[in-house]
Symmetry: D2
């Protein structure tokens, strides 16, 4: 590991400016003022296709400049880090170009829309690493303090041998059948539905906290509402409806069972039809010595069950992960003062800058992002094969991807 | 302690047959068939003033006979235990007569409607004890397994020195202003309102679990709805309304602070105006080594906070008090199988029979019941003195009691 | 429906006296004294193979007589109801004999150890019904007030169209690898493991509350601890260990996805390896108008989410199912007074006696029990076919069952 | 109301740089980039006594300059807003000077260390208002979206007539008896202990959400650990201990009952001895139509009980206050994405800037801050008078304040 030769602040270009752009901007804005970063960072350029819109976003979020051509920006000498928050179908092209240009890259999840793209990106990251460029995928939920701490506790052995895992990501914003047919619900644009978007999070989190890989899967994909109102003008999920209905071509619920490398079974659920559940990512790891559970809708705490405690005193302990001893917390507030959703984006910046400075490898790596992509692909393969088991990496499914 | 000379089953006469009669009947019916009692018990006679009604209740609840004159029943040679579930204003007379007749007595809480009565009862219990008769007050919440276990944990020292206690009993059945003016809301019949009825429970529980006494109090009594529809015909809380309104002459909320013998402050709340809280008796004991909390609406569990655990792992542990190691539980079901409200009445029978058999003193004793009565009286005295502090036992208040 | 011609009390013979015998005895003992039954019932005979042991159990639980030959008991003229709580492998023989003898039969779940047996039992129930005999399966969780109320709310339409269901039954008593190899862990005796024992409950509950059937399944069965200490002398789960280890031949976790007749997907999990979860039966039904959730470890409440409420006021309402308006509750205690595990067994008696008296058909019927058996069998068939989908009723799997 | 004549960005000077300085800095940094402010703001000057330390803090938090003399800074023409986050004993002097210099003032809570100071400050605010300067007190918990929404719901009438309130602020950082005798525990520096620091929050919140005032109080102040290790060198709560012990001269727990202007009783508890409770500000408002409850340790939600719902469907609804319809939320993230502690400081900036721009009066006003101060003073007066009732504003207690 070679520490970076300081040569001024790390200058960042962010490509894309949707919802994730807002969240990443908070991270870049807050990290230097809350944490003691070993390098200065500058929010240098925001890049988007529509010159007016991107200029307005840059001004609002605090980026020094805006630009419309990401290739030009990547070619600039004064840019050190490229942060990619565009939709998934452009990740591969931009990330590979940036890495080949010697830039450090932070790429939003999921890494890509296909295993092939993800493989190319991982290869690019490997090439670039030789020159010292870092590549990191944006699974920010890893950096919720309770999640990081949960991982640490498992690594320390408090749950013993992992014997069963439950991981779910439940939302409900598609329950309304009049929600229009946005691009996210069309396979040609989005690649996948609930599986790729939120299923990716629970696959990554499972692999992250257990330190194991999902090696095989059996799954079912479901489109509960099969036709939706066509979107007229406008974009995103809120445009005005045109006349008529069109087919939803991605899944809106994915149920699958995975086998971990250590042998344990994992039950996964990713759905947008869990009425009343807004952003309910939950995970529970059961081991022979204990159990740990986390719920993103209660993100400042985790539950720990210690089977080695006296029999009459066992139970799930609700640990408020707001103590100075907990990951990331000391830089924030006193005990019992809550953190929120976007703090993970600040921690992501902290960790990336530290890795660049120290010359270490940040996680999640592109290889880890690729690994998630392979599980997603195996789930699709299994779903296409009547839910029979598919070994991750062994599927050759190419159904329209 | 002199074990009882067995001479056949313990034959029980229960005097009164309202709501508490139903609950006590479950206790007498279940205890011999669920637990291994050292003596047989028989539900011999149910006593009430209305011959038809009491005969019907006896048949329904499984009492062998019914009777209308409690004095005659107490005089019978074949009655061993007298169980008193009448309204509080008759407790003293019946209990003293029964004890003087050499019967074991179980008396519902509160022990009496005044300190004077309670003193006379405690004196009777002391006299009767010389002849081997037992006297016990029906604070059954002591016998919820989680409460007994909470007490055991405190006695073991897990919370260390008790530094603060919060105890509340919250109901909401008086929120409706059209709830009629039943006898329970009239001082001449009920003696007291929320204070005496449900406040008594939290005073007893506080003294029970901490092993300390409430030595001084400062309190406020409040009648939130001051007039209610007059009750026409009918009885209880559900009779039909007559014309007009009458004054509510008891408190419907009592807020008071107590000082424990060990020095800690206790905040008490007894109310029937806690909208949405149905039977929410809660207690939390804070010590220098830990804390314990209980909620009757979640009665199969307690929360334990261990300050001696590693700093990053502290939190409230929800202990499901359904393990065979927990008090009373082994006789019931496997772990995770819940108990309910009336189980405490069964445990009460178990403990009373064991005390009679073993010749030991059951708790809560009449002295403990008297002690609660003195606290209630001190609260009333403080409320009448602009909430200034009153030493328990030192008040000479006689306002219409 | 022909009301029963009263001819004295309904006299009950219970066959078997393990854990379920204790629970059923509470039901028979309590029902007549808590509810107003339209017929009297008598706990007439307890039947078991070991004369001394069954006599002792009969005395303890309050059965008038004991006997060792169930055939003789079934043949008696003075027995009206046969209650079967033996292990599953004897259900079919006893229940068919009892029904053919014209007795009303209450049979513990699961109905049988195989589809073939269950079919024969359902046929016997149909024959017997012509003579007025009633047959009922003991899925008592249907009679937890919150579960009955949840079903009523769904029937009323509050969740709208059911779009997804999650049902899990999680215990942890097999996490300890030194738990010995009891008969329940051997296929030749138990037929099935977690699937048949606790999986049956969640299948029945799903079908009960939705009013739909599980029509197809894809599933995985898992034996997490594959060898356990041989059991020396003793029985049950607590005998002393012999030397050496033997193979566990049933599943200890079952993960499966089901398709309801109305189209919705259900994710099922039955496991004894959910560290820290003692008896955690949970179900959540998501519909286009709302959602309902229940947790057996919090059995006096349910959660209701109403999507038709104003957007800023939606949320899960925790309904305490202890109001007089709720099913079964009026006979018990005031609002906020909790019921426990065994109350369902009392309600079961109430409903069976009412059905006998009124000449109506009690639920769950043997056909419903058979339906659960067919789903269990389909899950095993799917697990044996690499988790591919199997239509319920269409499997021809005969692997050693 | 006169809108401000724009003349460039609003330039802010913040005086003080402890824990509150960090939180306020986040507010000033985030507000312009997350919300659409009607005026630009600039973090112009950070003021502190130690030149090096304040320069370092300014650089870290993003203030353009630093300075050591707050009088000079207040005198500068290019400063529009003075934000005061110093300890309470300097609030009056700075705030009055700033207001008299025509600056807008944001002053941390509690407004002052005495009623006299607070009165002078309120008078200064009134004078300054004539010239258009705004004055605001930093009770930021008002701006947690769930709290603002709770207030809105009460104003809308959903709880009906307020009949009882419970408000508590529980922490546990003084449970450790070896925590040293910092300035916060000495009356001459801190003025008050738990009462003034965290009790002030629950008084303000009660008045804010009910729209009523606390008119009379009866209270008890308690110092649970009466002596603590002397602090050697260092400051704050973490300096190194000198030899010996000194007296704690402020309360560490305050229990008091208040009477609202509408007649309802409020039970208040402010304590630093609630073992296991870290930052547990809770409030529950009970009315004749419903109830609302909030817990700061679960700050993204509130509980609403609707007594007007059908009897079998009532219960506490957990409303996740993360919908675009909820106060402040639309500027942040999608539903179910959590906010944290410091978001209230951002909302405070948003509201202050809006008030300055629109020429309206921001809340809480200095009069509201004074009102809290008067309640605090009345509690101290009551505690000194054996807990008898004291009318707010009528106390003449001058015990060493």
């Amino acid at each position: 590991m070679t520490p970076r030769q300081a040569r001024g602040p790390l200058r960042v270009a962010m490509i894309g400016y949707g919802f994730m752009g807002a969240a990443h901007s908070v991270g870049w804005r807050q990290a230097p003022h809350v944490f003691d970063l070993p390098e200065d960072v500058e929010m240098a350029v925001l890049v988007g296709r529509n010159a007016d819109a991107v200029a307005q976003a840059a001004a609002h979020w605090g980026w020094a400049e805006s630009a419309t051509d990401w290739r030009e920006v990547i070619a600039r000498d004064d840019i050190d880090i490229v942060d990619i928050v565009t939709p998934g179908d452009s990740h591969a092209e931009i990330a590979i170009a940036a890495l080949d240009a010697g830039k450090h890259v932070l790429c939003e999840k999921p890494l890509a829309n296909s295993v092939e793209e993800a493989e190319a990106m991982a290869a690019a990251a490997e090439r670039a690493a030789r020159g010292g460029a870092k590549a990191m995928v944006g699974f920010t939920y890893r950096r919720v303090p309770a999640v990081t701490f949960l991982r640490d506790l498992i690594a320390e052995g408090v749950v013993g041998r992992v014997q069963q895992v439950r991981a779910a990501y439940r939302q409900d914003w598609l329950v309304d059948p009049e929600m229009p047919l946005a691009w996210r619900l069309q396979k040609e644009h989005a690649g996948s539905g609930a599986l790729g978007d939120i299923g990716a999070h629970i696959i990554d989190m499972t692999q992250f906290v257990t330190g194991e890989t999902v090696d095989a899967v059996s799954g079912t994909l479901e489109t509960i509402v099969k036709q939706r109102p066509l979107l007229g003008s406008g974009s995103g999920l809120t445009g005005t409806a045109a006349e008529g209905y069109g087919d939803v071509t991605v899944d809106d619920a994915a149920l699958f069972t995975g086998r971990l490398s250590g042998g344990a079974l994992v039950s996964f659920e990713a759905t947008r039809f869990a009425t009343g559940r807004k952003n309910a990512l939950t995970i529970e790891v059961s081991g022979d010595k204990g159990a740990l559970a986390f719920d993103l809708e209660d993100l400042n705490s985790l539950r720990f069950y210690d089977r080695t405690a006296p029999a009459d005193r066992q139970g799930f302990t609700k640990i408020l992960v707001t103590e100075a001893q907990h990951p990331y917390v000391a830089a924030w507030w006193p005990p019992g003062h809550m953190l929120g959703y976007e703090h993970g984006f600040t921690h992501q910046v902290v960790d990336l800058v530290a890795a660049i400075h120290d010359g270490t490898d940040p996680h999640p790596s592109f290889d880890e992002g690729l690994s998630v992509q392979r599980v997603l692909s195996a789930v699709e393969a299994s779903a296409a094969k009547d839910s029979s088991w598919v070994r991750v990496g062994a599927d050759v499914l190419e159904v329209g991807r």
